[in-house]
């Protein structure tokens, strides 16, 4: 049963995460969550000819591992909801073409993991689908060549710059009873443009959208931050994390110590010299699938909020001087 209250959709039964997987690269392996991944590639090309093919291979791997854990075969999945950061999301399309599952491709920039989970949860809860497969990926090398400069080009990164996560996360959602992680509510984000034009300060561009989604969620669902054990944003990094912490406090909804950012969890910022933190579509996907869900199943966290944050822009829009639009989609996960 679905219940709409304000801008939040509550899911009474709540679809179950039947299986999930996290796949990463070398830098992710060296990070603090290195032990949480289901599979790690030491070769950034994953044995492929191009970075884009490597990203497809990572999605393929994440899908096969998540399906295996869920006990389902690809033919039992009703819909694939996936996305990435490459032009026209081609890695996602190639992964989909091999699976033979109907595809609804998504573009939400780095908010895609939460966006796909939110949409998948609504479709399964409503009965429109029996099962949904939500997949997200990003690759440092595909993102660099598309959004910034060639890898071997000598340039210095700003202290506010973030590092795109190389990895993919997959989640199989389905109906059913029993214990497990369930999706309890969805609150889609309103795109917000605060005029930030600095592409090396994405956290600042996305933070207002995260605050907007959080405050609408808490107000409309009549819940407070203290009802949750962990509150996450997708990839705001140090600067965005600080902005959200300060702003939410001023709004009278202090998030406190339970608030963290996936971009701050995936790497050791000092030791790995990651500047402001991790970013990319894969960032929140691998942190959620690899780390957070297993800690929920282990009983460490009961109720978790994830606001996947996305910077909706392209190299062309930035070159034309346009500002970066931020968006944040929220999902509430619980394991009772």
């Amino acid at each position: 049963m679905l219940k709409r209250t304000g801008s939040v959709t509550l899911l009474e039964e709540g679809p179950l995460v039947l299986g999930s997987s996290a796949v990463g690269g070398k830098k992710e392996a060296e990070g603090p969550l290195g032990g949480c991944f289901d599979f790690l590639y030491s070769d950034p090309r994953a044995g492929q000819k191009s970075w884009e093919k490597a990203e497809t291979a990572m999605q393929d791997k994440a899908v096969s591992l998540a399906l295996k854990k869920s006990g389902l075969s690809a033919s039992e999945v009703d819909l694939l909801l996936n996305g990435d950061l490459v032009n026209q999301c081609t890695p996602s399309c190639y992964t989909a073409s091999k699976l033979g599952i109907p595809l609804a491709g998504l573009f939400g920039a780095c908010s895609t993991a939460a966006e796909s989970l939110g949409l998948g949860a609504l479709l399964v809860e409503s009965g429109a689908l029996r099962t949904a497969l939500c997949v997200t990926s990003s690759h440092f090398c595909t993102a660099e060549r598309q959004f910034r400069t060639p890898l071997a080009y000598g340039a210095q990164r700003a202290p506010s710059a973030q590092w795109t996560v190389t990895g993919a996360g997959a989640f199989v959602l389905g109906q059913g009873g029993g214990r497990g992680v369930r999706l309890r509510a969805v609150c889609f984000g309103r795109p917000i443009d605060m005029g930030v034009t600095d592409a090396s300060n994405m956290g600042a561009a996305m933070a207002p959208a995260a605050c907007d989604t959080f405050s609408r969620f808490f107000t409309d669902s009549s819940r407070s931050p203290s009802d949750f054990d962990l509150i996450l944003t997708g990839d705001l990094g140090q600067i965005g994390h600080r902005i959200v912490s300060e702003r939410m406090e001023q709004l009278g909804l202090p998030l406190g110590d339970r608030y963290n950012d996936c971009g701050l969890m995936v790497y050791d910022l000092q030791r790995q010299d990651m500047h402001a933190g991790g970013s990319g579509c894969g960032c929140s996907a691998v942190v959620l699938a690899g780390d957070v869900l297993s800690r929920m199943r282990a009983g460490t966290f009961k109720n978790v909020l994830l606001a996947g944050t996305g910077a909706l822009m392209s190299p062309m829009s930035l070159q034309q001087g346009d500002s970066i639009v931020g968006v944040a989609h929220l999902v509430w996960l619980s394991c009772e």
Partner: protein, 149 residues
């Protein structure tokens, strides 16, 4: 900071919470690395002069050697590591120009030798060439006019 903050106020706040680049450290290392690259160039220049190459030929041979070194270090994925420390010290010398041409050639090889490697080779250096040639043409015209007057 409040919910109704306007764009100007938000951008001012962002500027306040965003750490600035460590200017002193960056300047020091760009001086050090840039100076070291120029010293290597000077050593080659002395070497070619000692081989009785003549002044013009020695400076051309030095440029060729430095461009080769910049390209080779780029191909070995070492120049970007040097640039991470050296900053402008690695961009300004001629080795930086070599890096700006070789790195996109390497990157876009996956799109083919014609539309990838060759077409994208000047994606970083192209504007330098365009405006370099334009300003030197203007300079030439000014020089010509001044000599006529």
């Amino acid at each position: 900071m409040n919910m109704n903050m306007n764009k100007e106020a938000y951008l001012a706040y962002v500027k306040q919470v965003t750490p600035a680049s460590p200017l002193g450290k960056d300047l020091f290392f760009s001086f050090l690395v840039g100076g070291a690259i120029c010293t290597v160039g000077q050593l080659f220049s002395h070497f070619y002069l000692s081989m009785n190459l003549g002044r013009d030929a020695a400076s051309t041979a030095t440029s060729i050697t430095m461009i080769f070194l910049g390209a080779a270090l780029t191909a070995l994925n070492l120049y970007d590591d040097l640039a991470k420390v050296g900053g402008a010290g690695t961009i300004i010398p001629i080795t930086g120009f070599a890096n700006s041409i070789v790195s996109p050639a390497m990157e876009f090889k996956s799109e083919g030798l014609v539309l990838g490697l060759a077409a994208k080779m000047f994606v970083v250096a192209g504007p330098v060439l365009v405006y370099g040639i334009l300003t030197s043409s203007i300079y030439g015209l000014v020089l010509l006019l001044m000599q006529r007057l």
